[in-house]
Subunit: 322 residues, 2 copies
């Protein structure tokens, strides 16, 4: 007996829900401090109390309130995103030097954005620090597939055995994190070339945005760095239907190879836990939208759909000017 | 300026969220009693306090607890669904006679099911009583569409001006409530014939289940009956791609006519508030899955997706034997 689809969802959407047990949820929240910035009411992320204790927040620009359990970046209320980001960068640089956090050893020189209640850009920080602050992170994931007389088949890459995170596991056809300032439609084009050698014109002609999945991940050992860090995530989803003549190929050393999986082979690999956790969700979403998983063959259909579209407790991005 | 898509979602998903304002939510819940049955811990629905006051629950089979705010159908713990349903039927028959509730004047002789925590069938009750108990109701909604050299167009019916609920408003191509014992795939075939005169073989060949939408509706005036009653809903979604030669036609007097709307015409009618509220959501979901609404043209993309897939506070159905 392999893993059920709901079990795969549970591995990604791990943070408790208030409605399931209000008393437990309220108690559980006490394990965290709330990350805030001056001039903005919203809670931007959850920081583990154990991280707050270890983190030497410089008092000139951080206020730690142990009663309300807040960690606030203190600036003039009308500070610019650059001012906030610079202060965080300086704090992180000092923290890296002290070597207190395993997760900061995975420095990537990639900036992740944080948004305010109206989807406005508030600040950015180094990618590897995001789980320390528990901020929402964004990515694009695409399922490349072929549908012809042989049925529907999915292009599945295997991650390099040397990769820092989830080495050797199966992945979505194209997947990558969204850095500051990069809209999803550009990110999917860049990643499709970088990860699958798919030319821009092919992606532009065939990639269809079909929604997003959202879940509240709590990092385990395979993710690298400290366990128990928060990672609420938004993944913008694309379907890319390809002619059988177009064959994705690794472009760097992050991917070992691509194989065309039948639906049955994909299901088997999912049940075996061979996919990176959040990639399982993208395939489950694909299966539901394409009528492969149905209300009558999947007992947890409703719970899965709700859990994969979790309404996060934090403000999220808007990539559209109003 | 017409209604935004998020405003249309707000009209359907009206019950507050804990995370938005914990104090308000906790206070707001005090307006309701929780509907329960003996032997099952789960809350099956919310009953307005004003309904509890007016409802003369017979003491031999109902326990009203004003402290914990519960209304419990009292039976032996191992009662059968039929035993529970019979008790409720008797209570409702007596209540109808007293004429205390406007909503019970819309009696339909149609039974709606209530499920327990594992998706098991617990009981059924007359459809028009479901908002009094605030139980989850289920339906199927299909978007019939044509996609050819003229682009994508959607079959849109107008509800008869004489219909009891939402008269004269625009509707989804096919939509209907699911009675006890009818799985979604059978319901969509029956409703497609009853509402759009689509033959069974056409529906079987072309209907693809593509997910479900869930939201917590609070009934207003246009819904008929008392205002403020609870209606948490699950709608199973189908896409039915039709050849341009197949033309849906009204089969009874519930539908006035069908017209083929372009995407632009559909968008305009949505913004004008011409669609029945939950039908708007089905079209928004269709637009998102088909890449018509994207992260870059819809500012509320993430909020809309999460709100249309609300994780309901109540147990929901499983139409699949484990």
């Amino acid at each position: 007996m392999g893993k059920s689809y709901l079990e795969l969802v549970n591995e990604c959407d791990k943070f408790p829900y208030y409605a399931d047990n209000p008393a437990f949820y309220t108690e559980h929240l006490k394990n965290y401090h709330f990350f805030k910035v001056s001039g903005c009411d919203a809670i931007l992320g959850y920081i583990l109390n154990s991280s707050v204790e270890k983190f030497q927040f410089p008092e000139d620009c951080w206020a730690v309130d142990p009663v309300n359990r807040t960690v606030t970046l203190v600036t003039p209320p009308n500070a610019t995103p650059k001012q906030r980001s610079d202060l965080i960068a300086k704090t992180l640089a000092d923290t890296v030097k002290r070597g207190d956090f395993e997760i900061l050893k995975g420095w990537r020189n990639e900036m992740y954005p944080v948004y305010g209640p109206s989807g406005e850009f508030l600040l950015e920080m180094e990618r590897c620090a995001s789980p320390l602050f528990g901020i929402v992170t964004y990515g694009v994931h695409a399922t490349c597939y072929v549908e012809d007389e042989k049925g529907l088949r999915i292009w599945v890459p295997r991650r390099a055995r040397t990769k820092q995170t989830y080495p050797g596991m199966l992945d979505n056809s194209v997947a990558g994190g969204m850095s500051t300032g990069e809209p999803p439609s550009e990110c999917i084009i860049r990643e499709s070339m970088e990860e699958a050698s798919l030319p821009e014109d092919v992606v532009k002609a065939n990639a269809v945005p079909t929604g997003c999945i959202t879940y509240f991940y709590v990092r385990g050992e395979r993710a690298g760095g400290e366990s128990g860090l928060m990672q609420p995530e938004v993944e913008y989803i694309y379907d890319i239907k390809l002619d059988a003549s177009i064959i994705p190929k690794p472009c760097d050393d992050e991917v070992e190879d691509f194989r065309l999986y039948t639906v049955e082979e994909t299901k088997k690999a999912l049940a075996n836990g061979e996919f990176k956790p959040n990639c399982s969700l993208v395939l489950i979403d694909f299966f539901i939208r394409h009528g492969i998983l149905t209300p009558e063959n999947e007992p947890d259909y409703l719970e899965i759909l709700a859990r994969m579209h979790r309404r996060l407790e934090f403000p999220t991005a808007s990539h559209c000017s109003r």
